[in-house]
């Protein structure tokens, strides 16, 4: 790679419209430039890298000295560094080192690292950076990722944005570091839609809400005067599909989270629920309740045509497409208890894939296609697990009193789910666990929170 070539990416390509929130008003322009470094004449080679295919990963020691604040008024420099460090730490793959141990002080993006000093404290990677408030009011953030052992720069990038975007920019930088060191796409510049829960257990108020994946910037999408459940992100647009009790029958709706515009999905005679988008974002698949039975239907969002996909005297629900759109995994009690089945995307030929002890529910296909995550109930315990699409290789990632409703990070590396606690004062909170089953993390939320769903990666 020739680092002397500056690459400018247009702002709209980087920023998705979801960021047209008030805090981002008029600030969508963001430029990224690969930094040309005077220290690096050789092509960067990935001498350090993390193998994240192993069961348990030894986190990589990484030094993240506070970005230097240039040009005055750049109080966000240290905050940005903290957000980057927190992202990397929460992934479980990195161990940000204690700044008190740093020997070389006052690092900026243009400081030549004394690599020996960083090796001494056990750092394998080093990130140096600077944040500058320019005369035009914009923020310029630059960083370099260093391989401490090879004494080489691995990555250098420069961004321009408005000051309100500092937090998002920190996530973008954390994604760049993650991707360079792991070889996989990051997931930090993403959001999670969920259901905010307040009030007593027998009279909960539920609101749709959205937050950054680290729990920051919570914004409410509904007011709480109607019961809302199971929001799911569109893979292609700033829309979510969810279930609401606002009409005469509880039904599946679409909500544009940018404009607030809402519409019902289809005109079904009865309750529709458990919606999910197809991978191309053009259809919603869901359950329709007919008498005592629930069957799975698809609605094409452009033609409005609805197609029945299952036809059984049973509860068929929680459909989820494979990422290639050719198959659908769902749960059904057609065999007597809740189990997982896979069928073609047009219905028919459903094959049971779950055979372990207990009941299986809420299957969701990994965006990588290799695994299906689920809720499993057995002997009063609620677990989150994964299995291959043919049902083999079942692994339980977490278990306890009540874990429910997994959803995948866009890179297929982490599952977000909710964990409920018992009794009158109990309530759900959103947690993540990675594919290894280690590294459980709770995401802070203002109140109880359930039904999380991860946004796609933003290109």
């Amino acid at each position: 790679m020739n680092l002397s070539r500056a690459v400018v990416v247009s702002g709209t390509a980087i920023f998705s419209p979801v960021l047209a929130l008030p805090r981002f008003a008029g600030s969508l322009a963001l430029m990224m430039i690969l930094l040309v470094t005077p220290f690096c004449s050789l092509p960067a080679r990935a001498l350090i890298e993390i193998d994240i295919t192993q069961g348990q990963v030894e986190p990589l020691p990484i030094a993240l000295p506070d970005f230097s604040a240039e040009g005055g008024g750049t109080d966000v420099a240290a905050d940005m560094t903290a957000v980057i460090a927190a992202d990397l730490r929460r992934s479980g793959l990195f161990k940000p080192l204690d700044p008190a141990a740093f020997i070389q002080k006052n690092m900026s993006v243009n400081t030549t690292p004394r690599f020996g000093d960083w090796r001494t404290i056990g750092a394998q990677a080093l990130v140096s950076g600077s944040v500058t408030r320019q005369s035009d009011g914009r923020l310029r953030a630059e960083f370099r990722l260093w391989d401490v052992f090879a004494s080489e720069q691995m990555l250098g990038q420069q961004f321009y944005t408005t000051p309100e975007n500092w937090r998002r920019l920190a996530h973008i930088i954390a994604d760049a570091i993650y991707e360079r060191l792991t070889g996989e796409k990051g997931y930090f510049d993403t959001r999670i839609v969920f259901v905010d829960e307040t009030g007593p257990k027998d009279n909960r108020v539920k609101r749709l809400a959205i937050m950054d994946q680290d729990g920051a910037n919570v914004r409410y999408l509904t007011r709480g005067d109607e019961l809302v459940l199971t929001p799911r992100f569109s893979p292609t647009s700033q829309e979510i599909t969810y279930m609401s009790y606002s009409g005469s029958d509880p039904s599946v709706y679409l909500l544009n989270i940018e404009t607030g515009q809402r519409e019902i999905v289809g005109n079904f005679p009865g309750m529709t629920f458990a919606p999910r988008f197809s991978p191309d974002g053009q259809s919603v698949v869901m359950s329709l309740q007919q008498g005592g039975n629930a069957n799975i239907f698809k609605m094409d969002l452009r033609s409005r045509r609805t197609t029945r996909l299952t036809n059984t005297a049973a509860i068929d629900t929680s459909p989820s497409y494979s990422p290639d759109g050719r198959q659908i995994v769902f749960e059904s009690d057609r065999g007597g208890s809740q189990q997982l089945y896979v069928m073609g995307a047009n219905g028919g030929n459903a094959q049971r894939i779950s055979f372990g002890p207990g009941r299986y529910s809420t299957p969701v296909w990994s965006p990588r296609g290799d695994l299906i995550a689920f809720t499993k109930m057995h002997q009063g315990r609620f677990m989150i697990g994964v299995m291959k699409p043919d049902g083999k290789g079942e692994r339980i990632l977490t278990e306890g009193y009540h874990n429910e409703g997994p959803a995948w990070s866009p890179n297929g590396r982490v599952l977000v789910f909710f964990r409920d606690t018992p009794g009158a004062n109990g309530g759900p909170q959103v947690w993540t666990v990675d594919l290894t089953g280690y590294n459980e993390q709770r995401i802070d939320s203002p109140a109880f929170a359930s039904d999380p769903s991860w946004s796609p990666l933003i290109d």
Binding site: R204, L227, L229, A274, Q289, G291, Q338, S361, T362, M377
Partner: protein, 161 residues
């Protein structure tokens, strides 16, 4: 007189509780006693003297003997007071997943509906809705509460009370 007041209030309370317990035990035999202040044919009459809910076993929607007895009484009452429409609300306990419980609640509401219709209640008077596990009435952490939440509740829509 404060003491007297308290005693009087307590006595009334005890009487009310006794009546309620008695009603719960054998509602149809004592409409006069129980309904002393409950006008017949009202929504309150239905709740107090008939019983507005039936309960289900875990992960089941089959009507128990007790549930059928309650629904028999509901049907009699509804057939007598034909001016009312009803909504059957189906519910599940919290020990299941959200989507499945929505369908399970619907199944329970539907079982109760079918039974009432078979007892002569016009289908056009009956609507069903499921709340899944979203509306528990009891919140403790054992089956004494969960069993109260696994229910189908008959709500009189246009009751004057």
């Amino acid at each position: 007189m404060v003491v007297m007041d308290n005693i009087a209030r307590s006595a009334r309370l005890v009487a009310a509780i006794a009546v309620l317990m008695f009603v719960a035990a054998c509602a149809q035999t004592k409409p006069d006693l129980a309904g002393g202040n409950v006008p017949p044919g009202t929504g309150q009459d239905f709740v107090v003297n008939v019983g507005d809910r039936v309960f289900f076993n875990e992960d089941q929607s089959t009507l128990t003997t007790q549930a059928r007895a309650t629904l028999d009484k509901q049907a009699q009452w509804l057939n007598r007071y034909g001016q009312y429409t009803i909504t059957l609300e189906g519910h599940a306990d919290e020990r299941g997943t959200r989507q499945y419980n929505l369908a399970l609640g619907a199944r329970r509401a539907n079982a109760a509906r079918d039974y009432l219709v078979a007892q002569g209640v016009a289908p056009t008077r009956v609507k069903t809705i499921s709340f899944g596990k979203e509306r528990p009435v009891a919140v403790c952490n054992n089956d004494s509460c969960w069993s109260q939440n696994r229910r189908a509740v008959t709500v009189i829509n246009n009751a004057t009370n």
